[in-house]
Amino acid sequence: MKDFLKVSPLKILEGSTYQELGRGNLGVLMARAGLGKTSFLINIAFDKLFREEKLVHISLKDVPEKVTSYYNVIFSDLVRVLNIEDEYEVRALIDKNRIILAYLKESFDLTRLRENLNNLVKEIDFTPDTLIVDGLDFAETGRELFEGFRRIAQEFQVEIWFSALSHRHIAEANERGIPFPCNNLDDLFSLIIELSSTPSGVFLELLKDHDRERVLDAVVRLDPDNFLAMQQ
């Protein structure tokens, strides 16, 4: 699956400090409603799965069937775009290395997540490398929860990716240029990426790169049909 790595949206990290988020760290994608946050997260998931890493997708709003169908739709696009011939084998690899944990009816809390991750590690020998957290409302979530996520990332030695909804009508940003709703949380995140849509296309921009004070001018243009990085 080397072909995917050429078009992975994580190409944005090629010029970054470590070229990855790294274990024990949190990363977030910010975008306005409807721009494709879930698609981006799932493309990150495929980036990890195609490297044969283990992944847990945590959904706080959708049932597992819906999450699976998101994966299936995006995977079907990948099969077409990348001419994947051994589709069934790749699908089996994805099923083997991905587990979906859904917390419905506001049942999510960090204690349950920690228990569930412990169950995966101890009971079925599934040690994740990455967690994807989709559906967390950043505007309504306190700082303590993200501090808890950071502890989990360090305890389980995983990297955790989130998506955050930004708003056109809230122009608030901190002195480092990080906009709402991450303006008061940016010290907890190692990578912050912004997804934006302009008349000339859909772009990813790196807003925070670990401890680097001046972020390189890293921008990747995405294909609006499949959210894959367009080859230069």
Binding site: P64, D95, I99, L101, A102, K105, E115, N116, E123, I124
Partner: protein, 405 residues
């Protein structure tokens, strides 16, 4: 059916020719009750219906509308109605018309059985009752099958799961008074080749009496989706056109029993691209035999593997037992796909080989203090692990040895 199975949109008008579907059969003290949905046209008491599958005419004797377990006799019913008829000889899924149209409704998808067990009547009266019960069940439920194994003369029933068959055995006793002994449930394995292999086989018998001659050449390879495909690439009439279907038939006859462990063969594509015939000695039979020989010649070279049914298992339990349940699935070679919780209960979805699911209800009860439950449905066939493959091959050899002895 007269227009090469062209798709037709029905009008749902009551004055158009009748098209209706028998979707459920039920045994009542008054005989077989057939539930029918009318899609187009109307049914009147005393009129005739035609079963599209058998082309048999049926007289509508009693027409009823069901209200739970109460029946209301009605003189006629129109498009959109669900009604029931008494004394109609048909299967679930049959299309009934008034004879003016030769239409058939799209049949429901019927998966292949994944589990089977042998049954034998405990005494003589039970024997007749068992046959009667099986005939009834096969009509009612297209996923339930019954057959007599020609080699062992045993009756084998097959279906979609352990519980599915248990229910029919229980119904045989309760509704038909047939006491039966059951064997151990067996998994319906399949065989499939894993690589391409060439064949070039000549069937030749030209000594004494009428001769037989046919040569078949080509290759077999795994087919992507379909269970069996036959591709004819013969050029120049080296196998005359009239014998091509005999070649196809020969290969198809080999699918029933694979050479690895004697289970049916699936996902096979046969391409025939060369051959030879004899002006006098070639016949359909000779080419069928040549195809069977060609299959035997190439099959083991095509590295067949054993496939087992994988079930989509869904377990619901209080969240505190999530770890125990996951562990029990993992021990059964299961692959956990997801876990969803709502604060109190957790639903775990997993893909588990059917062979590992026997007795799981008891295990789950003890793991969850009786608070967990599970359901499963057939998902797909997948290759068995090497250790299981060796075990199955040994069992097959042992059976074959005993059969030959």
């Amino acid at each position: 059916m007269d227009q090469q199975e062209k798709e037709i949109v029905l009008s749902s008008a009551s004055n158009d020719p009748l098209v209706s579907l028998a979707f459920k059969l039920e045994v009542t003290p008054y005989g077989q009750l057939t539930y029918l949905r009318i899609y187009q046209g109307s049914i009147e008491k005393g009129h005739d219906l035609v079963n599209t599958r058998t082309r048999k005419r049926i007289r509508v004797g009693r027409l009823v509308r069901m209200h739970a377990d109460e029946m209301e006799d009605i003189p006629e019913a129109g498009a959109g109605d669900i009604v029931a008829l008494f004394g109609v000889d048909c299967f679930s899924g049959d299309t009934l018309t008034d004879g003016r149209l030769n239409y058939t409704m799209t049949s429901i998808f019927v998966p292949e059985p994944v589990i089977f067990l042998t049954i034998s009547p405990k005494d003589n009266p039970s024997s007749t009752r068992m046959v009667k019960a099986l005939n009834r069940f096969v009509r009612e439920d297209p996923t339930f099958r019954s057959q007599v194994d020609q080699e062992s003369s045993q009756t084998i029933i097959s279906g979609m799961g352990e519980l599915h068959l248990e229910i029919y055995v229980e119904r045989m006793k309760r509704e038909f008074g047939a006491d039966v002994d059951t064997g151990i449930p067996q998994v319906a394995y399949r065989e499939a080749i894993s690589r391409r292999a060439e064949f070039n086989y000549t069937h030749k018998k030209q000594t004494g009496g009428a001769g037989q001659y046919g040569r078949v050449a080509g290759y077999m390879e795994p087919s992507g989706g379909s269970n069996y495909e036959f591709i004819n690439q013969v050029k120049g009439g080296v196998i005359p056109t009239e014998f091509i279907s005999a070649v196809d038939k020969g290969f198809q006859s080999c699918l029933k029993k694979g050479l690895l462990i004697g289970f049916p063969v699936m996902r096979l594509r046969i391409t025939v691209n060369d051959g030879q015939h004899h002006q006098v000695d070639s016949s359909e039979r000779a080419f069928t035999q040549a195809a069977i020989g060609a299959f035997k010649q190439a099959y083991l070279r095509a590295k067949p593997v054993i496939l087992e049914p994988i079930m989509k298992v869904s377990v619901e339990c209080p969240s505190e037992f999530q770890g125990n349940v996951m562990s029990s699935i993992n021990q059964r070679r299961g692959l956990i796909m997801s876990s969803a919780e709502d604060g109190v209960f957790t639903a775990i979805e997993a893909d588990v080989p059917l062979a590992e699911m026997f007795g799981y209800a008891t295990t789950l009860r003890s793991l969850t203090q009786g608070k967990g439950e599970f359901g499963m449905e057939f998902s797909r066939y997948a290759k068995v692990p090497e250790s299981t493959e060796e075990e199955l091959k040994l069992k097959y050899k042992e059976r074959a040895r005993r059969g030959a002895a």
